[in-house]
Point group: none
Chain length 403, copies 2
């Protein structure tokens, strides 16, 4: 039976409300031996009360030991095994900055690079040129016209951009042009399958034009393209679970992944947890499932800012009563992955997870929300893809299996 057939077969509709409150990169580590993690250090009376009333556990985002990127980590939260549902990197990059990628479009990630006078790559990231230097170059590339297709190019960050090509008969089975090495030329656009030859030719002519327009640059005088892909046509979240679902998130990446799985994505004023919770309240009656995303726990983790990450967690805790006032039937507070301040990057460590469902909760013996209490929690250690069925069960939205 395919992954989602059980959910499709068993889901019920009722009036319950499920909130998945995701603190990006929530999991942490002690910065000194014997010390508390970021989550353990935070003063968070509301979260601790929920922990004492609810059930804790820790989630493995992809597979044990595997550190996820944001795209796969969020797919797992929504119940999609990211190893099976492989969303192309080009699509993730483009969707992540709010570009539309429709079925039949081709999306790719672009890097500016530095070429020497023989056309060989000397720096694969163009000296990591800053965004304000890259943005006008992207503007120049976006003026390129290729007959028969529409091309959209947008800046991502520093030396990175995304490109989406739209037209007839485009197949995305193309090899990367990034040779992943210096001292060699960028690779030509190779079609992996016969049907992709037209796309290969069109991308090649775009690259030729782009090279001409960058030739005068010192650092960003070349480019490479990677992760050619199209809309993965993912099974749609509302259909799988029978949930009217909304995404409340500030950053385009998370809005993009939510859109790919078929959630509605809500625009709102402000960017604080309080603003996000207020927005949930405004549309409370319209939806069954609320994915609320807090970015700054992850950003502070990547910046190595211990106090900053603790502060973000405390800000979420301060705002939490306004979310609880809405009386969700099921509230899960977790992360998509860990981003320990100590490592300054995403990690594979299991994600502390709090599941609170006053009517159907499984009690455990834990009294506070932290990595170590979660490791001892009532739901134990489990794969992130198993979260959604549990949220559905606690919302009493799943029928019995078999007689």
């Amino acid at each position: 039976m395919a992954d989602f057939d059980l959910m499709r077969q068993l889901h019920l509709k009722n009036d319950s409300k499920i909130v998945l409150l995701t603190l990006d990169g929530l999991g942490g580590l002690p910065v000194e031996p014997g010390g508390p993690t970021e989550l353990e250090a935070a003063r968070k009376p509301n979260l601790d009360r929920l922990a004492s009333e609810g059930t804790l556990g820790q989630m493995v985002p992809i597979r044990p030991g595997i550190t996820p990127g944001s795209g796969p980590a969020h797919l797992a939260l929504f119940g999609y095994d990211p190893i099976h549902y492989d969303v192309g990197r080009g699509v993730l990059e483009a969707t992540g900055i709010g570009m539309k990628v429709n079925k039949g479009d081709i999306a790719a990630r672009g890097n500016f690079c530095t070429l020497d006078s023989n056309g060989l790559i000397v720096d694969r990231r163009a000296g990591r040129i800053p965004s304000d230097e890259a943005i006008p170059l992207v503007g120049r590339l976006s003026e390129i016209q290729i007959p028969g297709v529409e091309v959209d190019v947008q800046h991502v960050r520093e030396y990175r951009f995304a490109i989406v090509m739209r037209g007839e008969d485009l197949e995305p089975e193309l090899e990367d042009t990034d040779p992943q090495a210096t001292g060699v030329e960028p690779l030509p656009v190779q079609a992996r399958e016969k049907g992709s030859q037209r796309a290969a030719d069109l991308v090649e002519s775009w690259i030729k034009e782009a090279r001409a327009r960058l030739a005068g640059e010192i650092r960003a005088n070349g480019l490479t393209l990677r992760g050619f892909s199209t809309d993965p046509a993912l099974p749609q979240f509302p259909e799988i679970y029978g949930l009217k679902a909304v995404c409340i998130a500030v950053y385009p990446m998370y809005r993009g992944v939510s859109r790919l799985v078929g959630m509605e994505v809500k625009d709102f004023q402000g960017d604080s947890p309080m603003d996000e919770f207020r927005t949930a309240g405004e549309i409370w009656e319209e939806f069954d499932f609320f994915f609320i995303h807090i970015k700054k726990t992850d950003s502070m983790g990547e910046d190595g800012n211990y106090k900053g990450k603790v502060d973000v967690i405390e800000t979420v805790d301060d705002a939490l009563p306004s979310l609880l006032d809405l009386k969700p039937d099921v509230l899960c507070v977790t992360g998509d992955h860990s981003t320990p301040v100590r490592l300054k990057r995403h990690s594979w460590h299991p994600i502390p997870t709090l599941l609170w469902a006053p009517a159907t909760g499984l009690p455990d013996t834990q009294m506070t929300f932290g990595e170590r209490t979660c490791a001892q929690g009532g739901y134990g250690t489990f794969p992130t893809v198993d979260l959604m069925p549990r949220l559905m069960a606690h919302a009493e939205r799943l029928e019995k299996y078999g007689a």
Copy 2:
């Protein structure tokens, strides 16, 4: 590798005795915040002693969040992944009340329903007529003769009955006749595959006869049939594990599932835990594996009777010394699923599990048998299908894998 190949390849024979003592619907929840579950509240010195000497864990019966019916839940206890081994609902219903379903027979579940004068369904359950009203009607249906096949009809409960049709060339690929709606007619018997046309015609003529014989009834003047299926030809438990296995259970459903997997099913006097343990003692030398089933924990859970469920657990505990006197090498005390008094129905919550094996036990730190101690137990949280290999291992009935 298919599910059972490892077991077939590695199993050994010895003189050990394994007891799987299943308290149906054992898992519970606090009925008030901060209170004990049914199992935690029970006075059970014997089970607590076994818990302190043995290893605890909690089992996920089917998949996380999935609430099982009794059939799938028991298949999982015996090591059969119930998603893979999908036993038809008609077979389960019929086997459950002790009817024989052989390869080539067709079994189905039947409901009496109420039809209006246009033949449209006005009540899919015939007003839930009581058993004493339904039994004579089933008697009337069992007199129907259909040339070329033998038909057995038996009452299940209230408005429900089971039917088994036996004859040549019967294929069970038939659609349900229950439209799952009122204001419409029962559906005709549709063959899903060409080979099932003969069966469809025979069932249709039986239904026509049945309708004629029910026409004068007020409430039960019609019927629907569902879950057409035949003997699933499951791999056989004794062959997989090399165990001579016996079922000691009062209720037909559990005796039926045990028979489907090839266990012997023992008749005995009485219906108390003490009667079941006494029966185990009487046949102790004849078998290697004893599946002992206690029903009333589940019944009390479904009735919402907290004290009743606690009492059943205490009765089992009181009787336990007579089982321990037999000196089982491995004793597992668990449930097939949870039936919390608070929810009054089966649930998806993990099942508290106690594994006691004096010669090979893995010690943990838990001292009592309860949901929360099991969540902290030495075997952690694991799928129910993983139980049988552990019981085999603790009985020293599995060879080393590889050199």
